[in-house]
Symmetry: C2
Subunit: 403 residues, 2 copies
């Protein structure tokens, strides 16, 4: 059996960038993955400007007197005259500091006299309340690197250097296939022995949360030839195909045989719980090999296996520079395993809740992988390394579930 980190690395070693690029406009930057590194072409700010509403002054003029007349008013967006000798300029936040001024005093520290002169209450230091040209960004500086997912703060930064369009990676098309004769669709009545298909909607939602184009490949047919035809049809339109169920030893359906006929499939035995062997291979299509993942049919196992192995692969193939699961340190508020049990031989991911302040972690009472409500209750998965017993107070790692 491979341990989790080795299995993930093996899978990632086989992962290539699959996304093509497209040009998008500023209004559509949000959540897109940058396909180019962007450098600034301007200084920000582009000139020395005022950090306050107040008065621009040449400090040397205040050596012997404490009040000066106002010679101009400078609003943001205007182009000021040089400061006349022995005068001040009324200035507003963001407005350019005039030539000849070397400080701005905030208005709260001044008083306008009856004769219109401005009196300075405190001494003023050269450079006070001036934001310097290029203080934020210098022309040529790298602003955002290729592989970043553009969030609001990146979008703001790109806009602030005048960038109105960038190359991004097109979202990969990821198809989801469901297998299992026992599956009924939500909204329909259950026949004896049937259960509702939850993986289909859970996986499609996971893919959408991550920014992929999620394709519903439907329910796999129950004979070999139809399954082959369905896999071929799906792989013609998808960049990556994921099935849930149908690829374990003993599974009574045709996905495994069909994938092996159309392409190639490996079963990976990974020392992880929950999780059965993960199937990883490809489907040969007219446009080349389409990567194929076979997840366990059990929804909790499918969820955990997706997060640990499939998500990093998808994010890397999409061009993201950060694709590994983001583990956080936290403190256990639980014991695991139960006192009468030995530590497991497989790395475990317990369904858990971490309180933000204090970062104490409690676990869902029923850790059976049959219990999907455990995942819904959780806000993280708590990692228990193989062979390790966790006691309250132990420092552990968690994988947050909010994406």
């Amino acid at each position: 059996m491979l341990d989790v980190a080795d299995a993930r690395q093996n899978i990632l070693d086989r992962c290539e960038l699959l996304a093509s690029t497209e040009l998008v406009m500023l209004q559509a930057f949000g959540q897109r993955v940058l396909a180019q590194t962007v450098s600034a072409t301007i200084n920000v700010p582009g000139w020395d400007n005022s950090a306050m509403d107040g008065y621009a002054v040449n400090v040397a003029d205040l050596q012997n007197i404490t009040a000066l007349p106002v010679s101009q008013t400078i609003a943001a967006g205007t182009h000021p005259q040089p400061l006349a000798a022995a005068t001040v300029a009324r200035i507003f936040t963001g407005a350019p500091v005039p030539e000849g001024a070397d400080a701005v005093e905030m208005q709260e520290n001044t008083r306008v006299r009856d004769d219109g002169c401005v009196e300075f209450v405190n001494s003023v230091k050269p450079g006070a309340n001036i934001r310097r040209c290029g203080q934020d960004i210098k022309a040529g500086d790298q602003v955002v690197a290729r592989g970043a997912r553009l969030q609001a703060q990146h979008v703001g930064l790109l806009a602030s250097v005048g960038v109105s369009e960038v190359q991004v990676y097109k979202p990969l098309r990821v198809a989801v296939l469901s297998t299992g004769d026992e599956l009924a669709e939500p909204g329909e009545a259950l026949e004896p022995g049937q259960i509702y298909n939850s993986n289909r909607y859970m996986l499609l939602c996971l893919l959408e949360q991550l920014g992929f184009e999620a394709l519903d490949g439907g329910q796999v047919a129950d004979d070999f030839d139809s399954t082959c035809a369905q896999l071929q049809a799906v792989s013609a339109n998808a960049d990556i195909v994921i099935s849930s169920g149908g690829v374990s030893v003993g599974d009574e359906d045709h996905v495994k045989a069909a994938v092996e006929t159309i392409g190639q499939l490996d079963l990976w035995k990974i020392a992880v719980k929950p999780g059965k062997p993960l199937a990883f291979g490809h489907l040969d299509s007219a446009s080349g090999a389409v990567p194929f993942f076979g997840l366990p049919g059990n929804p909790v196992s499918a969820f955990v296996t997706f997060l640990l192995f499939v998500q990093p692969y998808l994010l890397k193939a999409q061009g993201l520079s950060e694709y590994l699961p983001s583990m956080l340190s936290a403190t256990a508020d639980f014991s695991w395993p139960a006192v009468d049990k030995k530590p497991g031989k497989r790395e475990e991911y317990l369904r858990a809740r971490c309180s933000g302040v204090g970062r104490r972690v409690e676990i869902y009472p029923n850790q059976s992988s049959g219990v999907l409500s455990s995942v819904s209750w959780s806000n993280c998965l708590a990692r228990v390394p193989a062979g390790v017993r966790i006691e309250p107070g132990d420092e552990i790692e968690i994988l947050p579930l909010s994406i």
Copy 2:
């Protein structure tokens, strides 16, 4: 000056649910906010079923012999016959356990003899590898509560109990107005004294990340009558209006006067840095009072003020049960303020990065609020309470920036 928590509470006390509801289908559950509490109408699983591929057996039959013949094969989705006495049933994961069987032995612990009988290598305990009816969820159990944002795990859980449609809150329409004569649009050349409008795109992106319908209200005109007309037009189509810039003391534009004419506006002095006074009020429209927020024009201040005050208000108005900022505990790897400075009188939010494992927090070298690149570099804001000096190793609170 109000402290941050009091100011937020004051603002939230004035916040009512503004979202109306609509019915959505399962495929569109993702990221929506649940407007009803959903309870299960079925047991999950609906019957005792096998947790393994293996053999269903009546343990009492193995008291004297270790091999039994196979009387039936039970696949998932089928309805089995009662188990014939002194036989076993071949059974697959998820398939119903037949009446008369009280355990399942995994196939790895069995051997099929030449005569077709199944030999049991180990002793089998009653109840082994059986998932009990209702073990995950009992009919009547609450599954997901009103006010939850539906993520993949909730969608999977709802599907697993057969829910194909739910009532959700319609996304609020939130309009963004930009003020400032000095603003140029990204993509255009800068005139002397101009800067690029970054707040517009940063705020629209923040709103989209949070699931709102973001409306671009454009740039505010530069005379009072046009500003009034523009605010009235925007408030007729929006549930909430946000402006950036234009509402501080001394600002040279017409938003403040226009809001006070059309509705009402309070300037809140909050002890927070970065952040100027936050303006909060409403615009009177034909359909009632439309809440109005006036953010600082400085992009870093606008970003921080949005996260601390506007976001909680918007999330509460949208119907989310969890709307407060999610602070996390972490450990400082920095000193603040500098040794030659006194701790501040205002609560500060430093632009910072937290490493997941270890949860050590470093801060961006330049904490000037003019520096938007600091926010882009960060993955969290580090909270420094008023009057407190932070030293390396101190336990602090951070606000993660990924949404």
